[in-house]
Symmetry: D2
Subunit: 261 residues, 4 copies
């Protein structure tokens, strides 16, 4: 059985910026999906902001095991209702990987509950990513560090919650550091943030980056059946209590009534 | 110097339900604030949903070190813009304590990025809270357990992210358990969720509960000056890099330009 | 490929206590291994305290993907050198599952760095385990709770470090709660503590308990090649620095010298 | 009331190495204590390896709120019984701060349960420490980064458990990164690891480093009374159960009997 990946691309720079179009003629999302499709047991397809419902219909989400999200210039154009739909899928068990400038994507901010801010500089400087958790599944097959000769700098403090685990930390030529690989869990969904991938550099053509993405997909994949109503808060009737109890005192609600939200 | 606490109460049941009005004639928020004001170095006041801007003006938040939030029937009436204002204050360093049914309050859900759901039963059953982290500041002065003879049941699974620390776990007479004291950090703000406090029982008159709230206030208080712009993502110009670097490759942004959001 | 599991049993009560021998005539370890061997892709064998080197030779550890440890009466008889050998294997990537009274086993205490103490009562009371992390791999296929009609009670506070994730919390008939399923990571090794399994009750014959153990094995398994020297602290010579630097100031060590330990 | 700090120094290099003696003529421990004593509400004294019982008598530990530990050349000379005594104090609530090469100190390795290894280079290169958790109490009064012009390099992967919080990450001139400020909790004791402080450089004369140490002391201090027997695992008799239960099935232990260890 293959892990079904959907790579969501904003697909704006590729249409309007010659440099980006030159590096990613078929779009960044297609490059990422092509890389994943070279790996066994991963089947990747794409969706973009411009698709109906941004390509994020309920049907599509139901058939997506792991969603990868790249956005930058058009975060604000993503419909709030679709953001909630994506988050529901995550809470129900869909894995999700946020790339680079998606630190400010609506679904990432929604899932983190934090500012997700950082410092940045666009100078094509050297980035060196260090593995901080040896033999972590996301670092499988990687040496203790790898380099990207030209990348945008992201610097600490990175305004995210303390992660489940820190997998990578970046060193930047200009003097900054950044927690570049972080894992989280929200509901039944595994979340991985991975820093590299500025659109004016060929980062997603890099074989080690592609390996990290494939590793991330395998790590984020939860084979359990999706939780159908991940927001349910069911009432348990007194007569169905697991230990026999007798109702005491006053009540607000009638048996079987819905709780307030 | 005193820690300035604002107790935010929804103040709906107290107006419409005789039982609740009987237990909390001046409102649950006032009872909670009165309890806190018996403690040294805490000065508590109140605000309610019905106040202009729900009492949560920028000025009020600026003068609040720790906010306590109780809501239930009217979560949906809280204005989204005010939710964001509260979250900004938390990210900037304001402490916040969410009580009982505030597990579904908008600011809690916003800060958790998770469903925050649970199971529940209103039977006035016995709850016994066990301390899971001995000598945690929030458990200061407490024995290893304490009991509330009549409470609403909340049961696992509780749909929240893995906490920084689990401080209390509840045993319920009807057979359930619940993580009743959980700590989080979002931005510079400390967050404490505390389960007890169903409105039809006199929970906030209980001395041990009042002690936990006072402990929670002291734990959540961050004496550092509030971060003014907790969402800032400043650009660092190439010529100001801490280590000398030379710009290489193409750019999207001009020097000093704002990043995308 | 199959996950190679070694079930380590202290094998003392089975030899000296008629009740235990009656429930587990071939030893608790054999019962646990038999249960695991009914699952696809798991091959379990056993080792006991009485074996040469407690059955924990380097060769055996090298061929063990996940080690399961049950001990109680003879924690002190486990040789310290073998404890270190087991911990080295964990740090190098071997998974390990500690059962029940192994909360006081030497390798568990060594890996936790904490007292690992608790309260207890031997009354054959009802235990109900609640899943706190829905769709966690260790809870795969499980309902939201399951019951063991007769078990020893373990109560909070449980003196362990805050876990990576809490997977189960137990409710006890006599009024206590306990964090019964906890995950940790030490070095490259995944660690799972699972509470049930008092030797005078038939717990390891229970199908749901067997399912949890099989799930735990799959979760703890790290397919990466074992780290050969998990304690190495290599010196990086100045001339091999990744960025060109010039040595400045005084030194304690010569090039290539070992650091202090 | 003042926080009582004991600064433990190995005091070996200061006696045998002219460079170290020149920078710290009265010992590194004395320099650290002097710095702390300039802060309000902190009273620091010193102890060394050469003192009877390494200066770590039970009486001394009982009167120590926060212990600071610097060691390097003589880790192996610290008596194992005293290591356990120190750990017992931590589990009972004593705060502890480990500095620099104390990553390989026996009490640190004992409390972490992990290899605590790293890579290193002694080249007097530039280290820049970035704050990763703005307004964390340990970073109080600090800018987003500070620099040490000459330090030893420590590089990732750092073989420690995932921390409670990451407070500082270091950038090194030669191309490495390191998690330089990490917090943990073991039992009731708060633990802070802080990286800088190689003995051949004047790091502990640096005002910002001294500020971090004072902040760390205030953060690590637990005002609760020390837990007297942090390893106790008390039996709860059936007749004292909080909920009435009847004993069922066979038992191993008699009432009031000690459990196995």
């Amino acid at each position: 059985m293959s892990i079904r990946v959907t790579v969501w691309g904003e697909n704006v720079h590729e249409q309007h910026n010659e440099v980006v179009a030159g590096i990613y003629p078929r779009g960044m999302h297609t490059c990422i999906a092509d890389g994943l499709n070279t790996h066994d047991k991963i089947t990747a397809s794409t969706a973009t902001l411009q698709d109906p419902e941004h390509g994020m219909t309920q049907e599509r989400l139901d058939q997506t095991d792991v969603l990868i999200w790249w956005g930058h210039a058009a975060h604000g154009d993503v419909d709030d209702a679709i953001v909630e739909r994506v988050c529901d899928a995550v809470w129900g068990g869909m894995g999700i990987i946020f790339l680079h400038s998606a630190h400010f994507a609506k679904p990432f901010k929604r899932l983190m509950g934090a500012p997700c801010n950082l410092t940045w500089r666009e100078a094509g400087e050297r980035e060196r990513l260090w593995v901080t958790s040896r033999n972590h599944p996301i670092a499988a097959g990687l040496p203790d560090y790898f380099e990207l000769e030209n990348e945008e700098m992201y610097g600490e403090p990175f305004g995210v919650p303390e992660p489940l685990e820190t997998v990578f930390i970046s060193w930047f030529q200009g003097g900054e550091v950044f927690r570049s690989g972080l894992t989280y869990k929200r509901g039944a969904g595994n979340i991985f943030y991975f820093r590299p991938g500025h659109e004016t550099y060929p980062t997603y053509h890099n074989a080690t980056v592609q390996q990290v993405l494939a590793n991330g997909v395998k790590w984020a994949f939860n084979p359990a059946a999706r939780i159908v109503n991940p927001n349910d808060a069911p009432n348990t009737a007194v007569e169905n209590a697991l230990e026999p109890i007798t109702e005491r005192g006053p009540r607000l609600h009638k048996d079987g009534e819905e709780g307030y939200r």
